[in-house]
């Protein structure tokens, strides 16, 4: 039968993390299978074709497109310098000549005698791909990139902003419920990835940027604060390219939500370790969640257990919607038939018992996510 539940985000103390590091187009791979690599190391590089700039020469010269070759000083494939004269009309008795200069430096890619257009291409743009995590090259895709293997502690966030960053992990919050506020961020946090509890405030975010903190891992963020920080309201959750000087990984959701104890404890146990985080999130078909990867040098994982993605009585879940958003509970029963909930919708439900208060609740299965043990 089809199931309705959220499988939950991955929080594991030790696992094999495989990272595909691919170039956007064919290029050179600088490492070989079995090489030990550092996160900051360039593993592959290439050149992207330069941007193109069209110029309607016929319009500029005031001639018919068919005639442009009569005035052009360059041909297809020639190199040009920015500002170099590329075409000239004979003028009248040597006077009143019209001269056209190259708008960019690069090469002449095409010349069209139908539209009168000349297309220039800028020099190629170098692109480098870093390893992103400390590890070992597991696979080389010739000309395309590599797969890096690392044994690491791994935490999937629910939402994030900002690109990949690497830095030592620092625990700032005393517990999973503590709010990360501006005074807690100090100059000693420069270049580090810091861990908060239930919420990061707007002031703390700004202070972190001022203090050149590389990244923040925290339970929640207020949607209004995020809007103010980004300078726009995030419409569709496709992030990772924000250039705000910091990467943020949210582990629970929007609002003040205590970080799951398991996540917090794992982060605390990794204090001081070199950590790689990525805020990139895409909530669409082919979902991408932000992540925290903390390599464990010298450690190995044997055969990994296949996670069972099913709900079972006695299993742990987290509530992912009001009421009691964020609380952790134990599954008491899984009624087979759909039941009517207060909205009058008939849905499949789960009976749970809250860990903190012991209260029992019935909720739609869609509103809990499994905490993977």
């Amino acid at each position: 039968m089809a199931s309705v539940y959220s499988p939950g985000l991955k929080v594991v103390a030790k696992t094999n993390v495989h990272k595909e590091r691919r170039l956007p187009m064919l290029g050179d791979v600088h490492v070989k299978k079995g090489d030990v690599v550092k996160a900051e190391q360039v593993v592959a590089s290439t050149y992207l074709p330069g941007n193109v700039t069209p110029l309607n020469l016929a319009n500029q010269l005031g001639c018919d497109p068919k005639e442009i070759n009569d005035f052009l000083k360059k041909k297809t494939g020639d190199n040009v310098e920015k500002g170099e004269m590329i075409a000239e009309t004979p003028g009248i008795l040597g006077f009143f000549k019209t001269r056209i200069n190259a708008p960019i430096g690069g090469l002449v890619e095409t010349i069209s005698t139908v539209t009168g257009q000349v297309i220039f291409r800028e020099p190629p743009i170098p692109v480098e791909v870093l390893s992103y995590v400390d590890g070992e090259i597991e696979e080389v895709y010739p000309g395309e990139g590599v797969r890096v293997l690392t044994t690491a502690s791994y935490i999937q966030g629910i939402f994030g902003i900002g690109p990949e960053v690497i830095g030592p992990l620092e625990i700032v919050a005393k517990n999973a419920a503590e709010v990360l506020d501006a005074p807690a961020i100090i100059s000693a946090h420069i270049g580090k990835i810091i861990v908060g509890g239930s919420l990061v405030t707007a002031e703390a975010l700004r202070k972190a940027v001022d203090c050149k903190v590389k990244g923040i891992v925290v339970g929640g963020i207020d949607a209004q604060d995020l809007k103010e920080f980004l300078g726009y309201d995030l419409g569709v959750a496709i992030t990772g390219t924000e250039d705000k000087g910091i990467t943020v990984v949210i582990t629970e959701g929007f609002g003040k939500i205590e970080m799951a104890q398991k996540t917090f404890d794992l982060l605390v146990s990794c204090k001081g370790r070199k950590t790689s985080i990525n805020g990139a999130t895409q909530i669409r078909a082919g979902v991408i969640r932000p992540e925290v990867v903390i390599p464990l040098p010298g450690e190995k994982v044997g055969k990994e257990e296949v996670l069972k993605l099913g709900m079972a009585v006695g299993g742990m879940v987290r509530i992912i919607r009001e009421p009691r958003f964020g609380e952790v509970a134990k599954i008491v029963s899984l009624p087979e038939k759909p039941q009517m909930i207060p909205t009058e919708a008939k849905v499949r439900v789960v009976e749970i018992q809250l860990l903190k208060s012991g209260e029992k609740f019935v909720l739609p299965r869609a509103n809990v996510e499994i905490i993977e043990e």
């Binding site: 089809a2 941007n51 539209t115 297309i119 209004q224 995030l234 569709v236 078909a285 207060p342 739609p364």
Partner: protein
């Protein structure tokens, strides 16, 4: 096609959506085709199971479990077709929007002319239009080139110029596409299909510029003259290319296409559009349909036989809900909520729905807020539709003396709420609303139908499957559509014009099917229901009505003039809406809340909070 229609007794139809694959089993029982059961399973186009047919088999397994007879082979790996005794089905058809559907860019010389025609052709074929590149779109050529590179469409439609007209502009667009050297989104290493449907005299120029760089295809000009739009050849070619190039590179699709042979797989919105057109033609009605999903909202209309479709790519109820909030604004969402809510709290709730899209409201307050967002998503999508469903622009119009006082511009919207006969709603938030009144009111509040309009919903969202089935077996598709798919909610009766709330608005005399006569008076600013349901066979009842509006209001016969008509019943009945057209809610919060609560009570919208 090699299908013997007469022999078909059992049909399986699937729709592979971006998150769920839905299967329905249709069988001939007592001489008519009826929906027997439905099943669903998660769509499987992502790792670890990159094969769409796995999801299809899972959904079919659910169907066979419920129906109690085998449809698959014993090892569950294939569908049995044709039927062998009690095992299998006679026909299998499918639609798909998995992997984000068909994502296209279109290019035209003049944005409001060939650009718009090309957009209509692409949308009509079931595509999402990511951007329109035009010579006069205000962007510099290098910006257009960058945009093409960035978006990585599945296909580009290039058009421009009337036959025999100038060729240089469309050649320039081809040069831009060539310079961008676009790569396909799916299946690295295969060439991106570019369809040329412009000035036929420019074909050689286009070939010179694009052949060898892209998979170039040529078809008839979609705007052969200024006065004529010829979209069908381009639409058919797009669907062909979609199957040949795009689908065949998506995981598992070659196998799915093999399973469905000899019937082609259709893009989901294309199939929904086909069934909408069929309904309009069969019933002789002007139809407006909407399908609101998690990520996108599609709007379809058929007015005077002209079909239009738009896809609002970023308006939806889960993935895109935050975008609805950002575009509509807090105030517009809150105007539908009959209680106060803290802005910060509301923003967090909306964003949490976005990041956990499968969660559902479990409290009445949350349901109300979600339905408020749905109203705005529908309204915004409808605004986009009205802007695109227009007559041809740039056409010289002949005018008679009678037109002197009614001069309309070329390119006016074809969507007329006054001429609208039937509104069809589809998609989770409408089809699965706990009370049918909620679905009806979401549609009424967002579309604001005028005069007399039937309101219906697709019971379980099976229009895509029926759309593709109609290509092969129209009778079976229509039978299931009428009996099992369409749920008649009732009729909305709304005069145009405004008076002060509380003043007399309508006097209505309704002669019920049993001969009983009901006379009602409605004041301005009311929402009221007169029950009119179904006959013993489940068909909606009709009642004769005389509706007399007060002076200052119109029911289609002129200011204050009575209308005699037939009204169609449904689950909700006859909904008299005298809130005014144009409709506006009071700015003052307490009065707005009072009215919303009053209307909700009159419609029996929600259980107590």
């Amino acid at each position: 096609m090699g299908i013997d229609i007469e022999k078909i007794q059992s049909i399986l139809a699937t729709d592979c959506g971006s998150t769920t694959t839905k299967a329905i089993l249709i069988e001939k029982r007592d001489g008519e085709f009826r929906l027997i059961v439905r099943g669903e399973a998660p769509t499987t186009v992502e790792a670890p199971v990159e094969d769409v047919t796995r999801g299809v088999m899972n959904a079919v397994s659910e169907v066979q479990e419920i129906v109690g007879r085998p449809l698959l082979t014993e090892d569950g790996s294939a569908l049995v077709k044709p039927r062998q005794g009690d095992r299998g089905v006679d026909l299998y058809v499918s639609t798909s929007s998995a992997g984000g559907g068909l994502q296209m860019m279109v290019a035209g010389v003049v944005k409001s002319m060939s650009g718009e025609s090309a957009t209509r052709a692409a949308l009509g074929a079931g595509a999402i239009v990511m951007d329109v590149i035009a010579t006069n779109d205000g962007r510099l050529p290098y910006q257009k080139i960058q945009r093409i590179r960035q978006l990585r469409p599945d296909m580009i439609l290039l058009s421009g110029g009337v036959d025999g007209g100038t060729t240089s502009h469309v050649a320039e667009l081809a040069e831009i596409i060539s310079a961008a050297n676009p790569k396909a989104r799916l299946g690295a290493g295969y060439e991106l299909p570019v369809l040329y449907a412009g000035n036929k005299d420019a074909r050689d120029l286009i070939k010179e510029r694009l052949e060898g760089k892209v998979a170039l295809e040529l078809t008839d000009n979609l705007r052969p003259t200024m006065e004529k739009e010829n979209l069908m050849p381009a639409r058919h070619k797009i669907q062909e290319l979609f199957l040949e190039h795009v689908m065949s590179h998506a995981p598992g699709y070659p196998r799915l296409m093999e399973m469905a042979k000899p019937v082609d797989i259709m893009p989901t919105p294309g199939a929904v559009g086909d069934i909408m057109q069929l309904i309009s033609k069969k019933k002789g009605l002007n139809v407006l349909g909407v399908d609101i999903g998690g990520a996108t909202t599609d709007v379809f209309s058929v007015f005077q036989g002209i079909y239009n479709k738009t896809v609002s790519a970023n308006y939806g109820m889960s993935y895109s809900i935050s975008n609805v909030f950002a575009e509509a604004g807090m105030e517009n969402i809150m105007r539908w909520v009959p209680f106060d809510l803290d802005e910060r709290d509301l923003r967090n709730r909306v964003k949490n729905k976005m990041i956990r899209p499968t969660s559902i409201p479990s409290m009445v307050e949350e349901l109300i807020v979600e339905q408020a967002c749905a109203r705005e998503a529908l309204r915004l999508s409808f605004d986009q539709h009205k802007a695109l469903a227009v007559g041809l622009k740039g056409v010289q119009q002949e005018r008679s003396i009678g037109d002197v006082f009614d001069q309309s511009m070329t390119g006016e919207t074809l969507v007329s709420l006054k001429a609208l006969d039937m509104l069809i709603g589809s998609g989770g938030v409408l089809s699965h609303a706990p009370r049918r009144q909620q679905g009806a009111m979401m549609m009424i509040d967002s579309f604001m139908p005028e005069w007399v309009t039937q309101i219906t919903v697709d019971s379980i969202f099976m229009m895509p499957q029926l759309g593709v089935l109609a290509k092969v077996h129209e009778a079976a598709a229509m039978s299931v559509f009428e009996k099992d798919c369409l749920i008649y909610l009732g009729t909305c009766i709304a005069p145009t014009g405004t008076l002060k709330y509380g003043q007399p608005a309508l006097e209505v005399t309704v002669t019920m099917p049993d001969g009983k006569v009901e006379t009602r008076k409605f004041a301005m600013g009311e929402l009221s229901v007169l029950p009119l349901g179904f006959d013993a066979k489940g068909n909606p009842l009709f009642a004769k009505a005389v509706i007399k509006p007060s002076r200052g209001l119109d029911m289609g016969c002129g200011d204050g003039q009575p209308l005699e008509t037939q009204l169609c019943g449904g689950v909700c009945g006859l909904i008299f809406d005298t809130r005014g057209r144009p409709f506006s809610l009071p700015k003052e919060t307490s009065e707005r809340l009072r009215l919303l609560q009053l209307w909700n009570k009159a419609m029996d919208m929600y259980p107590p909070r």
